[in-house]
């Protein structure tokens, strides 16, 4: 079964407790579909949370997340940093979860949109990108300028035609 926003929040609460038991404090930036689920609650997520690990080290976070996986029956890699190859820098937006030992922020809206445009796999990415685009102000050129710097160079062509299609779909032909 996919994860709902409540499932993800429950996992963060368990992770917070696990980190506290290890006397660790962690800070994450969520970059994948889970960020969309938590920001907009519009859909469920696959059983993983893609994140950039600010602190502590990836190995310490993986150990704590693995203990949570066991207790909540999640995949062992439910919290992973596998998307870091698709990140061009890291910018933060809204705080998604904050407690004693764990702070989780979403990546900024332009960065999340850039990642969706660079992925552009299917209707899920398009719906997510539409929600993100609705959060941004300005002309097509303004928005593309804000987003483009977060697109990995090898995905610029794809992200460009994806953005043009998305803009036309949301705002009509320019």
């Amino acid at each position: 079964m996919p994860l709902t926003a409540e499932d993800i929040q429950r996992a963060f609460t368990a992770l917070d407790a696990e980190l506290a038991s290890r006397a660790l404090k962690a800070e994450l930036v969520v970059v994948g579909g889970a960020a969309l689920v938590l920001l907009f609650g519009a859909r469920a997520s696959t059983k993983d949370v893609d994140a950039y690990f600010v602190r502590p080290t990836a190995s310490l976070l993986r150990e704590a997340a693995s203990a949570v996986a066991e207790s909540l029956d999640l995949p062992v890699d439910w919290l992973n940093d596998g998307a870091k190859a698709y990140l061009v820098g890291v910018t933060t937006g809204k705080t998604l979860y904050e407690s004693g030992s764990l702070t989780v922020k979403a990546a900024s809206v332009p960065q999340l949109l850039a990642m969706k445009l660079a992925a552009w796999r299917d209707a899920i990415d398009r719906a997510d990108a539409g929600l993100l685009l609705a959060q941004m102000q300005g002309s097509a050129a303004d928005v593309w300028t804000a987003v483009k710097s977060f697109v990995p160079p090898h995905s610029i062509d794809k992200a460009s035609y994806a953005f043009e299609d998305l803009w036309d779909l949301v705002h009509g032909h320019s």
């Binding site: 994948g32 469920a44 696959t46 552009w120 299917d122 209707a123 035609y161 994806a162 299609d165």
Partner: protein, 117 residues
Amino acid sequence: MDIRDLVRSILSGDLLTARQCVADAQREQFRWDELAMPGDLTERELTVAAGIVELLAMRNGSTAPRWTTAIGGLRESLVLDPGLEQLPRSFARARIAGPEPLRRRNLVALPDFLAVA
């Protein structure tokens, strides 16, 4: 991994479940080359199964099972990604650069359809 679940998720437009099936298969290092031909699929479902199995095997760096080579294409094109036709640039891209095992069978999807990190 039950390929029938994956195929039926795709054909019903439930791409989140389809992505989850692919992620689970990747996580468990599923052997695509050992997948037996599913027995109770319609012709259309079997065509999608063959295309998807070849695609995922290729992405996994393995070979597809031999039965897929015997499964040809549909007579009319079938879009596997709901709403793709509304996006002219993306639709054109899918037509010319969608995954080859799908295009060969007249199945339309974007180049990174079902890609998981």
